[in-house]
Symmetry: C2
Subunit: 811 residues, 2 copies
């Protein structure tokens, strides 16, 4: 095919896009346009549509010519009419929906259905074939595209980045992604920065940059930029030819890089480039709203200005001049040359797109669930901690997990479908065992001597570490969406950086779950560690458990929150979440060595139930009868404090009947009619009784527990303690006490609540004694460390006193 | 002073920083170092400290030589020991705390207090003079620095950006900030990208870039970069001289840019540069952990590797070799040459820093509250909507507000201490009236023809619009922190992009409020509009009220959430929040024309009370007696639906006693002991009765209301409806119905709850009728718009039916 074919094809797609925005009837303009042919409410964004089609058409040619399997990630998701038009023309739409045939009826249905109640949303969404990125909240297309390319060496991912989106920080940071992509084992990303010059109401930053500035910028990052400017000069006269040349050259360049890294000389090392792989990037300048009328009926400019961003010609229902302008615009594409009398695209148009799975809408990676294979998860047994009695041994949960993850990385060495992303915290989070199984991906040559020292870097490493939560999240999303698996360990306090991305991803999952042809994806799994309670050294800025609240706002079909209290429950939890699909799993776990409570078998039962009574930790408790007070805990550190509080109560108030409940699945608090993980009524009563007070020590903000308790009978008997935004650089004990959740605070709260509930013991006297002890410790802490273990607080907590509940240790 | 003085000064500061990390005693090394001189727990980050001091020393020389008022924003806040050391040496610390005198006692106190319970946190924090940015969560220093420079033409803001931080998206996006800064009316930002090559465990991305790549990158963005590399070559031998030359040249270059833009030729326009102002940026390569021992006791490398990131020499308490290595390291600075026998810095060291308010720790802008002047807020009256009766007129809340804001911009034209930041949505949010009073700031020349068209751009404009929520937030934070005022209007759904930044800013405010010498700052004010309920056209990705939940997690001293239901309440609310200090105010308001309910006077009373009974909207309600049901609402669209539901109930169930309550201050739901805005018990009862059911229609997630209700007696009688994550591109009515909050849903809920509470009416029959009506409308919506007004839904809601409550309209 030649440039004429592409231009004709684009006319067809552009015509359909305009029609989708405006028309409800007479979509082939077989009669003069009348007001009743126009939708009552005009929605859509024309401005970016012709550019998307320009790229789509060029890719059609490239793919048809080379057979290159190509996934298109469209950053400007509001240009959905363009994607729809191309999907319809290439026949993808009719593959998924028989109503969208390539004839007059199908076209009318497509046009009417766009941006219509019950039809296609106005932005890209999971309902649209070929789409794995919505582009509603801008900034994440580029990182997502790289995620799709990792470990898929045969794939080319083309990513359209709008020049509005380019202003976002996440996009600006994502341009460095090639430094983490191995040309040998991964596919390629060809970004197309689409510079149409304008966002909603202004010129864009990147549109305002000169060719020289753009070239310097991208060369500085390490790209090889090519400018295709169809707004002026010779390329404006033959845009398709210009883009075709650029795409061909880019494709050749990509092949040459890949060959350089993939072809291993006999008996030698792979040939490497000394300056790092300099991938091509296309910088395409095209007019905003290309093809729209130059002016509106009052002479105000439209095409090539931001006035073409949304619906360029307004007032068509009321103003006959505007209606005529729209009709002229539509007819300027000469639809009669593009579609047959039956509304079928003419053969010359149909000839442009590639065939079968090479069509951009049909590439299997865009429906990644179809490619997903369950992970070969190692048996847990060899990694489990041997726990002869509760509290009898110590271990670090994440170090234990790290060894298991290392073997999972080994087991997937050939498949290469599991990755870990992390913002430079893998070692800090004590997961560094995984680095014995793989390396930290890095492709760029190191500067000598300034940054020449390294450990564990590897071009093909499957750990992606960079100090950008946005890149970690975007890369992982792209990886999961194309059928692979992954884990995102993160400092708990800083994962909120990606709140916005998680909002959007949760929406994608929820909606994709309603689309019958979308296959399930591996879940998005977070491991939040370096928890706030152990950020007593880094201080207040490093404390923040709000991500739990953030995830709880999501649909119950999507959100899960797990708080394994020790290493074995963490192993079982991680096995579960890595085997699950279509969820956002938040797992909170500690990294420090601490007392262990459950054997692997007990952990399996506990995780399966979501929580349960720890009889060995209570006192005088009888099943079926309310105790005086329930001490409930969720989270590793709350578990230790609660067990210590129970031990204090056994010692100081032996007649107080105390039940200890540990909750590992936060949603178990929820009524089952509100969340599928909610504990049944009988179970809930077995845990928390019917009318007794429950003192809950929660890892995060108390509001999260109140939220999940909503709908349970009499929630006011639950007294939830947790992080209340008090913190600085101090000791762990002092940090707990500042927030009212030290063992002494919990014990005091327990006796007071029990007394309110009728327990006749000396509640106030005991509470005072607990408070005195607390202040004695805090004063010691501030006295500047006469006792180092007391200063560091936590060791005091876990080691100095008899281990609560461990039979041998109870006095 | 010459380079020798600077080197000596740096030795003193570096010595103090090492001492702070390690020592509790013998801080001047007057005796051999023994284990008991070492802190029991070693905290701190040495890696970045010497680089911070290197820059600080160079700035001292520059400021002392030129008298240039200079604010230092330190991105790597974990290098706090360096800042402390410099503040102590320049005498700032003793200005704020008499215990920190520049003698042996003060030095011992400084060293001991660092990273100690009750002492200085290990990171920068509001307790530290000169600090307005913590740097705990990385990425925001650069944008904050620009915020500090806007509209302060005499100020130089130097910003140290670590090469770890540089990997973040927000920092990458912030490099474009100069394109929004007017050299004539604003100060200058001199960024120092500190390339020490490593983050926690790896080389950094920017450290791995070659000089040529770095130069191209920054020139591409529009900077004039200068590399100072003290890791190798001639500059390594005389680092201070090299930095001094670079700083002098940068300062001269800044002056020359400023003169070019500020000197107006007689009778002419200001002289402009055609290529935009190309500000200097320094790229400083220095060894990681510069000055640390080259190797640890086992021969592993320390200096110039990431092993120097935190506490380089480990095990000093147990290993005599390590203790000796530490002592050798400390003595390598030759403290006896730096401090007198009394522990005072020697005169040559004292001579380096500038004097008085020119000291980097004393610059007034770092305690911006001292510079803040209350805004000259225009009287509201001329802008208020005339509301003869509830619902009798329509108006758009944000357009009304926009006219008032325009006059506020005019009133501050000379003072230039009020700005609006917005992610390219000002016009879309219908606040474009402000553009009649000022322009959108943009300094860069536009590309012709690709992006040559513009409206309302102005070099000195005080509206900052860019498609980067991170830049908006960072700029505004810097602006507020230096004593100015501002407003951040944003699409509701996308403000979650800055959740992480808001977490950190809330912590800064909370902690600053506990520091006696910190003066109050103007509040951080959000105006969230284009609310999810009106994103029926953009669809699901544009719907998300979670920012309210995010803010509710903050301290009650900080967080406020306002939901003005109409234009006059919005005016009163905005007057209040722009006059408040030290808060994070979230204001949610509509932009579409809609019915107005309150006169200005009523709005003043309503906002002051936080909510109240709207008697005119209820039916058969008597003060002091519980009605059959309370219909409560919070938010503009819930107010309309609730009033419509009340109207339906008056028509269909005239004997049902209904009270309508509107809540404008979300925290009024809270018990007063939990939040200062909580309504008193009597008021709460007057609004919600004592035992009757309350159906709450809330703007956001129902969980937010449950959260604030916590602690009120019997919260289970509150049945909260709101956004439950159901949405797509549809009509406003259908979107409401999908989430169960259409007027018909509310009316049905009301009769059912009233019946449960003893109302004898035909609840199920009525509820069924309401449900039928709802489905009839939804079917009509889907039938493809036989009635355009019904299709668009909201006009149907607000206009077609008699306006609820308006006397004239009630049938």
């Amino acid at each position: 095919m030649d440039a004429t074919d592409l231009a004709r094809y684009r006319r067809a797609a552009d015509y359909l896009a305009v029609a989708m925005i405006y028309l409800r009837d007479n979509v082939l303009l077989r009669e003069p346009l009348r007001p009743e042919h126009v939708k009552p409410r005009l929605l859509g964004h024309w401005g970016t549509c012709p550019g998307i089609t320009f790229v789509h058409a060029g890719l059609n040619r490239l793919v048809a010519r080379t057979g290159q399997r190509t996934l298109l990630v469209t950053g400007p998701g509001h240009g959905a009419p363009a994607n729809h038009a191309n999907l319809w023309l290439e026949g993808t739409h009719e593959e998924f929906d028989p109503a969208l045939t390539r004839d007059a009826a199908g076209m009318a249905e497509l046009v009417r259905r766009f941006s219509w109640p019950g039809g296609f949303p106005s932005h890209l969404s999971p309902q649209v074939p070929g789409v794995l990125h919505e582009g509603g909240e801008l900034g994440y297309a580029l990182a997502t595209a790289f995620g799709a390319a990792f470990d898929d060496p045969g794939l080319l991912v083309t990513c359209i980045v709008g020049d509005g989106e380019a202003e976002t920080g996440p996009t600006a940071g994502a341009w460095h992604s090639p430094k983490f992509l191995d040309p040998a084992t991964s596919g390629a990303v060809l970004p197309v920065l689409h510079l149409n010059g304008y966002k909603i109401a202004s010129p864009t930053v990147y549109g305002a940059m000169s060719d020289a500035e753009l070239t310097a910028y991208f060369e500085g990052v390490g790209w090889e930029p090519t400018i295709v400017d169809v707004t002026t000069g010779p390329d404006a006269d033959e845009p398709d030819a210009a883009l075709a040349r650029a795409l061909d050259a880019a494709h050749e360049r990509i092949g040459s890089i890949q060959r350089a890294y993939r072809v291993v000389p006999v008996g030698g090392e792979p040939r490497e480039e000394e300056s790092g792989p300099r991938w091509p990037v296309l910088l395409v300048r095209s007019p905003k709203g290309w093809g729209a009328p130059a002016h509106d009926v009052d002479g105000n400019p439209l095409e090539s200005t931001f006035h073409a961003h949304q619906v360029p010609v307004e007032g068509v229902a009321d103003d006959p001049r505007a209606l005529r302008l729209l009709e002229d615009w539509l007819r300027s594409y000469r639809p009669e040359e593009l579609f047959t009398a039956d509304g079928e695209p003419v053969p010359e148009v149909l000839a442009v797109p590639p065939r079968g799975d090479l069509r951009l809408g049909m590439v299997p990676q865009a429906n990644g669930g179809t490619l997903r294979r369950p992970l070969p998860l190692p048996e847990l047994r060899p990694y489990a901690v041997d726990v002869p009695a509760p509290g009898a041994v110590e271990a670090g949960p994440t170090p234990v997990l790290g060894r298991w993850l290392a073997d999972l990385l080994r087991a997937t060495e050939e498949r290469r479908d599991f990755r870990i992303v992390c913002p430079d915290e893998l070692a800090s989070n004590k997961l560094d065992a995984v680095l014995e199984a793989t390396g930290r991906a890095f492709t760029w040559p190191l500067q000598q001597p300034a940054a020449g020292y390294s450990e564990g870097l590897s071009r093909s490493g499957r750990v992606l570490e960079t100090l950008s939560e946005h890149n970690c999240q975007g890369w992982l999303q792209g990886y999961l969406l194309t059928g692979r698996h992954g884990l995102f360990p993160c400092y708990e306090a800083f994962v909120s950086i990606v709140d916005g991305m998680v909002n959007q991803y949760a929406k994608f999952l929820k909606t994709a779950g309603e689309v019958p042809w979308r296959a399930p994806l591996a879940s998005l799994n977070y491991l939040l560690t370096s928890e706030g309670w152990r950020q007593e050294h880094n201080g207040y800025s490093h404390q923040g458990p709000g991500f739990i609240n953030q995830v709880l706002q999501k649909k119950s079909s999507v959100a899960r929150v797990h708080l394994p209290p020790d290493a074995n429950t963490l192993l079982v939890t991680m096995e579960h979440v890595l085997d699950s699909t279509d969820r956002i799993n938040v797992v909170v776990a500690g990294k420090q060595s601490s007392a262990q409570w459950l054997t692997l078998e007990q952990a399996r039962d506990h995780v399966a139930a979501g929580g349960g009574v720890w009889e060995w930790a209570g006192n005088g408790d009888e099943p079926g009868r309310d105790p005086d007070v329930v001490l409930a805990c969720a989270g590793g550190i709350p578990t230790v404090e609660t067990l210590a509080a129970a031990w204090l109560l056994r010692r100081e108030a032996p007649d107080l009947r105390v039940r200890v409940v540990n909750v590992v699945d936060l949603l178990a608090f929820s009524p089952p009619e509100r969340h599928p993980h909610g504990a049944g009524a009988a179970e809930f009563t077995a845990w928390f009784g019917t009318a007794c007070p429950v003192v809950v020590d929660f890892h995060g903000y108390p509001s999260a527990v109140h939220e999940v308790l909503h709908g349970r009978p009499d929630p006011t008997r639950f007294h939830v303690k947790g992080y209340v935004e008090e913190g600085t650089t101090t000791t762990p004990y002092d940090l707990l006490a500042s927030n009212g959740v030290s063992r002494h605070d919990l014990a005091a709260e327990a006796v007071r609540r029990a007394a309110e509930n009728g327990w006749p013991g000396p509640a106030e006297r005991l509470a005072g004694r607990f408070a005195d002890e607390r202040e004695r410790i805090r004063a010691g802490v501030r006295r500047a460390g006469e006792d180092p273990e007391e200063i560091t607080g936590w060791r005091w907590s876990a080691g100095r006193e008899p281990v609560p509940g461990a039979t041998a240790a109870v006095p």
